[in-house]
């Protein structure tokens, strides 16, 4: 494989090509193929962007059909039939059946754009500047979003501009199993000199993806929603990684039965790996004036075409949802057993997750790297997350075949066993 140009021309900032240093040329559902024809099971799936798999044929067909009619690919935020279809489908397939009523903001097509739009609107709507975010949260790296992202790697690379406008509070479980971290939040809210500027909004992931598959308890989420309501604070669920079915429901917060004030979605929203994002907001919060937040690619029609196709294909009944949950139980069981193997071999490990967003916390980034590095050699692409890369993280396509799922898990087991017995 020729990689000289890639190595010479691309910035040092590149990362995944370091973990997986081959040139890929094909991809289908849960399989990636490199230039030499070697296939890999993909448990990474674009870090949760490919919930419906690589090159999903239904979505691809919708896209090709659209291109065939010379549909509008780019038209800024003009009205198109593709946009109308998307909004109607979103309303009818997703929102109405869940008793949700939201308006849709289509900002620039990336998660960080959606987060910036959401927190900015929260500030405008409430006339306060502060946003509460949580330890180990990840919400993007443009300067506005970065303020809410905990990772020092990004925070320390701003070239001397401190972020502003956000306060970190401990996520569920951060202070040990016996402490409810919301006690601290509530105390600070009620404390006139506690140093917490009354926030406009709270932004939270129900399961922290980059942060290490940290799962917010459903009671914790409910209480968080109650606290926000009681203090007139907007609750923003960042469902960029956990949404679009990843946890077994379309929205990850459905499990908790809450109705956030705003939701950010991206990653798997287009369904085909194309850049796309939206903010959903309760209608009364839509205090934007025309054009106050813009972006060149804020109405990427091709992505709306595949997004519409994905909703129609997978979300008009609960078949897909139940299948995801079924697979989730398989992964959960296997991961628990892998955690046990490691623990029994003196490497304490625990399993956690919700739906098909699951991880094994092996405590040490080195151990995790050993396992995932070996897995790649054996044909499985899987990454780590967590503050030190100590959590092996499964984000396989939700559409993965049982065969591929089991093969991937088998590879992982082999590697875990190898590392455990070293």
């Amino acid at each position: 494989m020729q990689t000289q140009t890639l190595e010479r021309m691309e910035s040092n900032v590149r990362t995944y090509s370091r973990s997986f240093p081959v040139v890929f040329s094909k991809a289908q559902n849960a399989r990636l193929t490199d230039e030499n024809g070697r296939e890999y099971i993909d448990f990474l799936a674009g870090a949760g962007t490919l919930n419906y798999g690589h090159n999903n044929p239904h979505l691809k067909q919708a896209m090709i059909d659209y291109l065939a009619t010379d549909g509008v690919v780019h038209g800024l935020d003009m009205w198109t039939d593709a946009k109308r279809d998307y909004l109607e489908t979103l309303e009818n397939v997703i929102l109405k059946p869940r008793g949700l009523e939201y308006k849709v903001h289509l900002p620039g097509p990336t998660g960080t754009n959606a987060v910036e739009a959401a927190i900015r609107l929260a500030r405008v709507a409430k006339g306060r500047h502060n946003i509460v975010t949580f330890t180990n949260g990840f919400h993007g790296v443009t300067m506005g979003a970065l303020a809410t992202t905990g990772n020092r790697k990004f925070r320390e690379a701003t070239g001397g501009i401190p972020t502003q406008g956000a306060s970190f509070l401990p996520f569920d479980g951060y202070m040990g199993e016996h402490a409810d971290t919301l006690d601290y939040f509530e105390k600070l809210l009620n404390d006139k000199s506690g140093g917490l500027d009354v926030p406009a909004g709270v932004i939270v992931e129900t399961v922290q993806g980059e942060g290490g598959i940290n799962v917010a308890g459903l009671e914790w989420l409910k209480r968080l929603a109650d606290i926000c309501k009681a203090h007139d604070i907007l609750l923003i669920i960042d469902d960029i990684q956990a949404g679009c079915g990843r946890t077994g429901k379309f929205f990850s917060f459905e499990h908790a039965g809450i109705k956030p004030d705003m939701i950010t979605n991206s990653k798997s929203l287009s369904g085909f790996g194309m850049p796309f994002a939206h903010v959903l907001m309760k209608p009364e919060l839509d205090q934007w004036k025309p054009g106050q937040y813009n972006g060149t690619f804020r109405g990427f029609n091709l992505a709306m075409v595949t997004a519409t196709a994905a909703l129609k294909k997978y979300w008009t009944n609960d078949t897909f949802e139940r299948d995801v949950q079924r697979k989730a139980r398989i992964v959960e069981e296997r991961f628990k057993s892998l955690a046990t193997i490691l623990t029994e071999n003196g490497m304490p490990a625990t399993e956690r997750g919700r739906g098909l967003m699951r991880g094994i916390d092996v405590v040490s980034g080195d151990i995790a790297d050993k396992i995932t590095g070996m897995a790649f050699e054996h044909g499985l692409i899987i990454e780590t997350s967590g503050q030190d890369g100590e959590v092996i993280k499964c984000l396989c396509p939700l559409t993965i075949s049982d065969e591929d799922l089991l093969e991937g898990l088998d590879i992982l087991e082999k590697c875990v066993n190898a590392v455990a017995s070293q």
Copy 2:
């Protein structure tokens, strides 16, 4: 046309659908067609995103071919053959023939992402936080980029977080024709108590698109480059709107014969209207550590496929370049004549621009609105720019046919005449 869902569901933030309140369903080169089959000449072209026209057949074919082989659409920043092709083509077709040597950073696929990456790297590389930007500049709206964007509409909609890290200086011509605004910049640089924090970088558009087709003189650009060099400041050309051939050269700064330290491109970079952006930087500036700036869609292969096709189709010789310059002269001549008509009718107007990035400054946003509003009624889509929307701005596809170009100009002339005689 059914627009209720669109009106009900989409955020108030929408803008272009207010100026052009129809539902579009088809687009080909310089023509948009609405649901009722009415055709419009498109002088907006995605605000400069569609330099090669809507649904460019060469690019579409490349994309369909890629999809047909199940090429990798999304793979984060893994290596793919599509990325390698893009980098090789960029190097061979664009950089080498121009004597340029740059490394490529593929950040999130939007202009604002590229700007944030560029100014952040400039800060890191120079160990200083300040970025000099210019009056009427537009560089994006995420918080980092917003600091360099002059428009109050965006600056005042942050919900109480002032931007930081940038200082505005007067763009070429801002202080009248007799003053060289760089005198002021140079004086401030040499003044230990002038209040200008020594900047890490200067970010500038050679022709300000959103700011009103304000054209930086070539001598001014050269002097700016010299000042930057003399003071160890990085020169960042934001070529997001003016690049990719818009001014008659691939990079808009080629006219001035300068070699910036960094370049940001987006908009027409994919050629097909798909979200895509890169930062080019001199190799020695690439001080990023792996993963310090990330984003889910930072390697959008489909966009790289069309971007490669566009480079191969239009930039391997100077035929396209010369054709753009030829059309530019047509627009220039016609715009001058329109400006004369208005001026002679008591509405002072001037023409300006470089290449096919041209405008008529009619001084008043109301007059400009009247003309462009009437133009839309007559089948021409054209927008205004400038701080008060006082500049009628032509950003037609560079690939527009002479027939469409002339028809568009004729419509505009009709409207100018009508408004002039009111």
Copy 3:
């Protein structure tokens, strides 16, 4: 008493003249006298500025003697014999006997100036921007210091500029008696994505004055010092209110046996109520370049004259220290008994403090106001502190006579009894 001019001319921002709306004309040790000749016992003492009492005769004499020789009153930061005397006395009387070695920065003569100087130097010295501060901390209101001050009254009155550069963490006891809040701090320090930017320094009061007489445990302070050392973080003790003998030692941190990297002093430092402040810093931290932090009144010689006299009078042996501790025990005992009275009458109250910095937390700001308001009517000046003004706070002069101390306590008891029996 004529108060019209005062009411008409002075800004609404005034506060103490609202609680004590009389015109004072004389003051001696722990007694203030109003224009009508009415005397008041002063348990406020300039919020801890008059540790040696109003118009301390020894200090006044030193000042008058200095004036008589036409000593330099103001000379910016030139060298004077008064400054030399002060530095020598500070070294010989205070620092050396305690085994401390510090350099002295004389910034602008107020606490907030000293805090800004200290945290700025910490940032410069460590090359990091963040400062950890604690819930309910108060460190001044100029913008740099305000970032470390928890009180919303000040934080919300900046006119839309959020503070930056500080992170709040829970003070000792903030999470209940069973949680060691430093566990949270340490976890955040070790967590690469916890959202805590590695701090340059920690600023802390050993007893929070404005925050409600919250007392940091000695073990907590020791552990804090250890954590700082282990993580290469500077420990800054803000001893502006608790220093100069208030807790029964010259420095309030002496009880814990720690040696901070920096110390800020002001309030009682001049001893005579005159504006004066200094920062003490370990010699190796003195990375200031000449003139990098300035101020017109940074060498207020008159204040140094009285400061020197105070050190010589009260700190050359332990007589004064032991007397303060003796009086402290009297106040402690009486406050405990007052707390019991309130508690037994259905108003839960607790006593706390260290040395002569003591308070009764009556939980409710209204109850506290009733008691202190009644006290004023009976001739005792005493204020409240805490986030809701719920803590009655004794900061009487350390030099108060036993008669005045007991009379003041008797008045307070009378008022507590009256409120308790309402």
Copy 4:
């Protein structure tokens, strides 16, 4: 002279003791005496703090009388007879005769405290965050004030926290004698995308002291006031150095016949070199809520006693004013002649100033240092100002005797001649 303790104990940040490395022990009016009995003429006068000279006997007597009665020295912001006297005197002697009506805010007793209070109130009053300040302006170094101060020495010593909330514009004359810099300000105000956030206020010195004795023209000041009024922007005159008679009027803006919205005074306000400051604000701007801006030393009664005495002694008629103007003409004439000497010897120099705030710009900091260094050797204390220390600056006491004034000027002439003939 013993200086070891001073050198060992005091922070490197010290400055004036480097230019004048002797230990002073006495001071009377315009004369300082060092420990060895050597006398120096003082043309520095505490950088404008000692307009009424060192140890002014009238003021000293008032202070001693006050101390003799045990007047309240420190009482936070309680009402005292000293404060009432000060406010009444300020109103009757200064404000009413000038047709001015202001309320008085007594913040912390330093200039930077007053500036922070003023700009913060401007923001609160106007609901906007931006403050316009000017090139070479100096308004203090606490973080809020620092944003408005141009000097890089301070701006670069914040340890990585960029200032925020202010925009620099060119001061009068900054762009050469033919350009009115307010044209640029006005253009930016009217430009919706010029990058200037609509300011809450403008802060300006009528004569820039630290910036190099840059004198704002009276027409420029009038136009600035008009622009502010037209755009609903508050005009804040920072009269900390130029006020209290320095320019020949009590307020430096009287020459221009304008009435600012706010005024900051400090330095010579107490008259005796004691820390003291106030903000004067138009009554309708007093939107402070009780206690929103505080500080321990915000009612320093001793300073109010001498401030009152100074007003009564020097400002009840125009005798003092006329005497200052007479002396100013002497200095002006002599400085012009010194500038001519230098110019004729190949060192281009110019004289400028207003009243007794005068300077000789010798273009080079080295030349200025040579002259002032030699002057010190000959018994004259005089400092330099300007971005590079290129302006020799006379701020002698306004009360200087003609003998001392002439002797000082003679010394300076001798040194100028010596340097000119080198």
